[in-house]
């Protein structure tokens, strides 16, 4: 089922939580709502579930108006960050809950419910734990029970609120992959909230980047990562270095560097900021050309897949973060305190007044 969200506005006691949010989720996709805390992503998810209501705007499920349907009527599956399992019911009873509260006409027989619950428990690999109570399960197991419970009612849409937020790193990674696999099997339209960009990039078909109640960009993981629409998206999806400069004769002048600004149309003298990812910073011991910045190595962290450098610019004393491959790191053989020449690649230039 597709979801369309049109011009949604929501305020809490004067706080503008969502501002004119528009979003379309095509049927069968797995979409991530990504943003820092307070960006309105959970509020948007709860509005889609019918747990919260917007002051303005429309929600369409499969093209049908669903704005005023309550949570009970929306037929969505919702997975809460802290699982919200029924603590007085065991795993089996938790998963069966949604089937048992259906109106008598639609309700399955006891045997059918039992079969269905066991099938779901097999799907989430918890069949042998059917008699356990939530308190006797680990965090990862609880989250899988919550997922089975949400899927039991055969929802048209699956909504997950920070589904892995309360789990430790390793379990999180496993569940992430497992969720992706599950989605590929059952193909239910799914929307999950996360503040973890890595999680969004790894799991989602499409990412909706949100900030301060607004949608900043919608796109595939490659699109939002490689073609960020604005500095916020660029900044939020991974580390980034900032270089300040000004527009001069249709090019951005940043220290001794010049970056062409085709079709930018900014007046001369406009302040601009260039953004460069740490792995797009090239480091050399000797000057290679004129377009370089002089810096001193402050700290080197050699552990891990890449070597991380903290460099200090000689002209402005600003810190530059750089990532080098292990081979390049060994080849250069740098120590802290040494002078180097820095050459940024793939600079993305935005006008200064854009607020981050």
């Amino acid at each position: 089922m597709s979801i369309e969200i049109q011009n949604i506005n929501k305020r809490f006691d004067g706080f503008h939580a969502l501002r004119n949010v528009n979003l379309t989720v095509p049927s069968g996709e797995l979409v991530a709502l990504l943003g820092p805390s307070g960006s309105g992503k959970t509020t948007l998810l709860r509005i889609i579930a019918g747990l919260e209501f917007a002051e303005e705007g429309t929600i369409l499920f499969n093209g049908e108006e669903a704005t005023h349907r309550n949570a009970k009527e929306r037929q969505v599956g919702f997975v809460f960050q802290h699982y919200a399992l029924f603590r007085h019911l065991n795993v089996f009873q938790n998963v069966a809950f949604g089937l048992q509260v259906k109106p008598r006409k639609e309700r399955l027989s006891k045997g059918e419910i039992s079969d269905k619950v066991h099938e779901l428990l097999r799907l989430v690999q918890l069949e042998q734990l059917a008699k356990r109570y939530p308190a006797q399960l680990s965090g990862g197991q609880r989250q899988r029970v919550a997922l089975a419970r949400a899927l039991a009612v055969e929802p048209q849409v699956l909504l997950l609120d920070e589904p892995f937020g309360a789990l430790d790193a390793k379990v999180r990674q496993e569940l992430r992959r497992w969720l992706r696999k599950l989605h590929d099997e059952i193909h239910v339209t799914s929307l999950f909230v996360t503040h973890d960009q890595e999680e969004a990039l790894e799991v989602a078909d499409r990412i909706v980047v949100m900030n301060e109640g607004q949608v900043e960009q919608i796109g595939t993981p490659e699109e939002v990562y490689d073609k960020p629409a604005n500095p916020f998206v660029l900044n939020f999806l991974g580390n980034v270095n900032l270089f300040h400069g000004r527009v001069h004769e249709g090019a951005a002048k940043i220290a001794d560097l010049s970056v062409d600004l085709p079709a930018y149309g900014e007046a001369d003298g406009t302040a601009v900021v260039a953004y460069v990812r740490p792995y797009d910073i090239e480091i050399n011991r000797n000057r290679q050309g004129s377009e370089e910045i002089e810096a001193v190595v402050r700290r080197i962290q050699g552990a891990g897949a890449v070597a991380r450098f903290e460099l200090e610019r000689l002209d402005t004393r600003e810190i530059i973060e750089a990532e080098l491959t292990k081979e390049r790191y060994r080849e250069l053989g740098l120590r802290s305190g040494e002078k180097v020449f820095v050459k940024p690649r793939n600079m993305r230039v935005f006008a200064q007044d854009y607020q981050i």
Binding site: V76, A84, F86, G98, Y133, Q136, V153
Partner: protein, 291 residues
């Protein structure tokens, strides 16, 4: 060969154990003080009640608690508790449910008002009803013209009891329900359960022991309430005397055996309450440790 090794191991064990607790004299003093206090203010008075009650033999004891006035007092106490406890159960549940699960204007005012009977002297509570419904009160003339009697009658006693006991259930449930949050209810709602179903299948099972605990405390207070009831009762023997008031009357008449015999009934009730309360607490703990 074995002895020295064993001895050091034992010595180590003792130091490890003692490091985690206070030295023995401190422990003895603390436990001793607690027991001394309990003995002085609880066990000795309790023993005194029963010994005084049985001073003139079992026959006099039973005669004192089965005479018509005593039976009338027991009946009235049961009526007052029987009306006020269910009312406060419903009110407490509704108030706690509203406060813990919803946001609305005037929520903190409601919480403050629920505590009012705790912060006001029971005598004042009784006086409020006299001012409202007494002959010289605001509605007194109208009530007497229509021959309704509230003050110095059973309705007044019930009203005073309801007022004094209404915080118990709500106070017990509010923190419990607040700590449990709204997520389970929201989950039930999304799964297609309506309001009633959610309440009976999710909310109520989660609070049942806390609710029982609140009801027990509420009942104990309803049966034992003296101050507020004393003001509105008028002390009419056989008509408007509850058990605590009956005890006072007998005592003032120097009828000590009968006074203590009746008091022992209230003491029994207190002991029974304690037992049920411990059971409820034990159940609550069991529920928590299972989590």
């Amino acid at each position: 060969m074995h002895l020295p090794g064993g001895a050091t191991r034992k010595a180590k064990k003792i130091t490890a154990a003692t490091r985690l607790t206070e030295p023995a004299p401190v422990r003895w003093i603390l436990t001793g003080t607690a027991f001394l206090f309990l003995g002085l203010f609880l066990f000795i008075p309790l023993a005194a009640v029963f010994s005084q009650a049985l001073e003139k033999g079992v026959g006099a004891y039973f005669a004192a608690i089965t005479e018509p006035d005593a039976l009338a007092a027991i009946k009235l106490t049961l009526i007052a508790a029987g009306i006020s406890v269910p009312l406060n159960l419903v009110f407490g549940l509704a108030a706690a449910w509203a406060i813990a699960k919803f946001d609305f204007r005037g929520k903190s005012l409601l919480i403050t008002l629920i505590d009012l009977p705790f912060s006001v002297s029971p005598v004042i509570s009784g006086l409020i009803f006299v001012l409202l419904f007494g002959l010289q009160g605001w509605t007194g003339e109208w009530l007497s013209a229509h021959s309704f009697r509230i003050i110095f009658a059973v309705p007044g006693i019930v009203l005073a009891t309801v007022f004094v006991t209404f915080p118990f259930v709500a106070r017990e449930l509010i923190p419990l329900m607040q700590s449990q949050g709204r997520e389970e209810e929201e989950a039930a709602l999304v799964l297609g359960a309506g309001g009633f179903r959610t309440f009976f299948m999710v909310t109520l099972p989660n609070i049942k022991w806390g609710l029982l605990y609140g009801v027990i405390l509420c009942n104990a207070r309803a049966m034992g309430e003296f101050g507020a009831v004393s003001v509105v009762s008028g002390h009419i023997r056989g008509l408007t005397n509850t058990l605590p008031l009956h005890v006072e009357i007998l005592y003032n008449e120097y009828n000590f055996t009968a006074a203590f015999a009746t008091a022992s009934l209230l003491a029994f009730l207190a002991i029974l309450t304690l037992v049920v309360k411990s059971l409820a607490e034990w159940k609550v703990r069991e529920q928590i440790s299972a989590e």
